[in-house]
């Protein structure tokens, strides 16, 4: 069983493609993709050993490792940080000291918490389950958003944002990779061949998705509809484009599918400094070697 860390959407297009196009079947894997609910998180599933593999953000994975559950990254898809901070009141997020900022209750946003501490902004974090309704109704001064998801939801709600109101973490020294596929080290040790095959087939799925975006979108919409997700093709199209863009390494322009040791170091240092880790989590701790 494979559990992406969020409800069905184009963020996981590569896996849907691998499933739909039979890339998993080709390597003899029987894969079931089960999405979490907005309160039953992927992290919980991994802890409960319900899932064999899950997607996690790098900082999330590090947090889990720090709590004593050794994880191994078998495929890194994201090469950039896509998190943005979107202000509600026409202000720059950097000027909103101690203001109320929405954060996912599901546990993303470690890097944002670090930034709040490091920049001395001391945000009043308000955990929320999902969607952008709190932001829309003016209950928040700003909210964290994924540039491929909530950011577009805000635009879809009729907000016309200026660059001043948007803070992109990747542009301010917080460019930490996000999504990758993880499994517990013990499971990996026992199922190394299958894990490698899963990683290779998933990678192939992502490559195919990048080459066939329209067909990929069809596959995504099929999954989305099966899961009764309140979204639409336009949003999924924008998401797919942005997710694929985030998979390209800024310097090489390539889809590298690898953890960047520098980014691992950066994330570890930031989280250690901000008290989110008790000790450093190294590149080696995350990788299969």
């Amino acid at each position: 069983m494979f559990t992406p860390q969020w409800t069905a959407q184009a963020q996981f297009a590569g896996y849907y493609v691998a499933q739909e196009k039979g890339f998993y079947d080709e390597v003899g894997l029987e894969v079931e993709i089960v999405h979490p609910t907005s309160t039953l998180t992927a992290m919980t599933r991994i802890r409960n050993n319900e899932s064999h593999a899950t997607t996690l953000q790098l900082s999330q994975a590090m947090e889990i490792i720090d709590r004593g559950i050794p994880l191994v990254n078998i495929l890194q898809t994201s090469m950039n940080n896509s998190m943005v901070l979107v202000s509600r009141r026409g202000k720059s997020p950097l000027s909103q000291r101690r203001e109320r900022v929405g954060i996912w209750s599901a546990g993303f946003g470690q890097i944002a918490r670090c930034m709040s501490i490091k920049e001395g902004l001391d945000y009043d974090w308000v955990p929320f389950a999902s969607n952008v309704d709190l932001y829309v109704k003016g209950a928040l001064d700003a909210m964290l958003a994924m540039s491929y998801n909530e950011y577009y939801q805000i635009l879809q709600a009729g907000f016309e944002l200026t660059e001043k109101e948007i803070y992109r973490f990747c542009d301010y020294g917080y460019n930490v990779q996000e999504d990758g596929v993880y499994m517990t080290r013990s499971y990996y040790r026992n199922h190394k061949a299958a894990a490698d095959k899963f990683a290779a087939a998933s990678r192939k799925g992502w490559q195919w998705a990048a080459e066939n975006p329209e067909e990929t979108l069809d596959i995504v919409m099929k999954v989305v509809e099966e899961n009764h997700i309140a979204t639409n093709r336009i949003m999924q199209k924008l998401m797919l484009e942005e997710v694929l863009r985030m998979q390209e390494d800024k310097s090489s322009g390539q889809r590298e599918f690898r953890l960047n040791p520098d980014m691992v170091k950066l994330a570890s240092d930031l989280m250690l400094e901000c008290g989110m880790l008790r000790r450093e989590v190294t590149y080696e701790q995350l990788t299969t070697e």
């Binding site: 209750s105 308000v126 309704d133 709190l134 635009l155 009729g158 309140a230």
Partner: protein
Amino acid sequence: MFKLPRYIRNSLSRKLSLLIAVFAAIIFSASLGFMFTQSLKTVRNEAISRATQVLDNTVLRVNTILQRVEIAADNTDWLVMRHLDTPDSLFVYSRQALQHNPGLSGCSISFEPYYFRERGLYFSAFAMNDNGVIRTTQKGNSLYEYFYMDWYLLPKMLDRAVWTEPYFDYNPRNIYSKEMIASYCKPLKDEFGMFMGTLSVDISLSWLSETISSVKPYPNSYSIMIGEGGTFFVHPDQSKLLYQTIFTETLEHPDPDLTELGHAMLRGEEGMRKIVFEGTNDYVFFKPLGNTGWSVAIVCPESDIFSGYTRLRRIVVTIVILGLILMLFIFIRIVGRELEPLKKLASQTGTIAEGHFDQTLPDDGRTDEIGQLTKSFGNMQQSLINYIEELKETTALTASFENELKVASDIQMSMLPRVFPDYKGLDLYASMTPAKEVGGDLYSYVMNDDKLYFCVGDVSGKGVPASLFMAQSAQLFRVLAAEGMSPARIATYMNNELSDNNDTSMFVTMFIGLLYTTTGELEFCNCGHNSPVLDGQFVEMQHTNLPLGLVNDYSFESETIADIHGKTMLVYTDGLNEAESPAKELFGDEHILQQMASMKDMSSRQVIDKISAAVEKHRAGTDPNDDMTLMCIILHP
């Protein structure tokens, strides 16, 4: 410039009909255009008022129900505040809220984590209406951390009662049901004003969807409702319901009108926009729903609103166009028929113009302008026939008259001697050039032994009467000269004869001469005539006498010149000295003397010819203005 086709140009009826049709079309277009514009306005205003009224009623109905929810929350609120010491009693109150308000689907009284320490992290007293059976349960658990939910956070963050966006209901059995609900949430605060938790009253929105969806002022109109984030919560297209916002399409295809409409609706405005909405031209009427932040809109396709109007317009325009075409054809026929006599008239007058005067003009008893014209043409034709007849007669008459005049002229000329006396030493020559066919000048001579009687006269007036008077005068002279009378007696006799019964008061000036060829003595009587030229000078007279025929019994006097041997004498009428050049200059006495001075030793004939030639030259081609008679007498020694 625009030129009509020949087919139209050559027909008055077509031209006239086309002109009328064009003017009618202009007038129709203007009046119909005005009528349509006014109707359009009226229809539009009626549509606006109708749609607005329907919208108002709908919003009022929905608001009434929503207000009931708000009142239910207010009624539960104070009970909660009074029983915080017994958390379990809160289940009773949430149940009561549903019991007292059967329309509600759920009620939860939820608290901050660890608010009741003994109850742990979660405490949410939740009552739900499960198909008429009210169940209560503790809502919070690790799978449903209610304090992260919008319905819980909104009143907390906003510090006021608030409606959530519609969402899917919580159901303990399957976590999320497919029923859409909305919650009215109030913050619960302790005596210090600190937030303790949220009171949330839920209402199923299926009735709201039904109420709003059923609003259909026009056959193809439909209603929508959007939440505060623009999400469609009521929409006939199920694929859009909950999945799209009013702005979604604009992310891919920017549409400023739609964006503006969305913003106006989200701002809670009430109004109307005419936009292209989801592919059709629509009028969108919108109004906010109470305190919810939601907005309801009725989308009325323009084609629906104006369908009656459009149909009417199409019919009217078709009728007008067909009517105009029909009118054009009927007019062409009618005008053509009315103008038919004119056409006939035109063709028949053409025939008349070719000389067929017997052509009968159409007579259909009309009294209008065409009838009058036909009548006038008929009169004209008759006049023309008469005129031509008269002309024929006159022409014939003129021809015969001219013929007679020619005969008269011949007779007159024959009365003037052409043969001159061949007498020793006498050289006489004369000529008369008439100005018209018959003239009033005369000359004559009679040889009586060795005496030569001669005369040159000029009858007053011209033409036939003058010539008759001249003939009489010439005859009288010849008779009297033959009697051997003196010139004065001849004049006296002639005068008396001519003045008798002279009703026309005609007269004749005359120079009567008697030349004794042997002695060369000249006796003469000048009766009002020009002085002759003798030997290069005008003869000086003692008596000028009156012209003949004027006064009866007048006494004429003669004069005598002793001897004219070797002298050239020219007797003439005023046709010579008054001969006019083209510039109306007279030949003149001086000119006569000059001519005569150059004619010494010439014969009488040569003198006459030369003077005639000089006069011809002076006239330079113009017609003679008067008869001219010249007589030259030379008595050689």
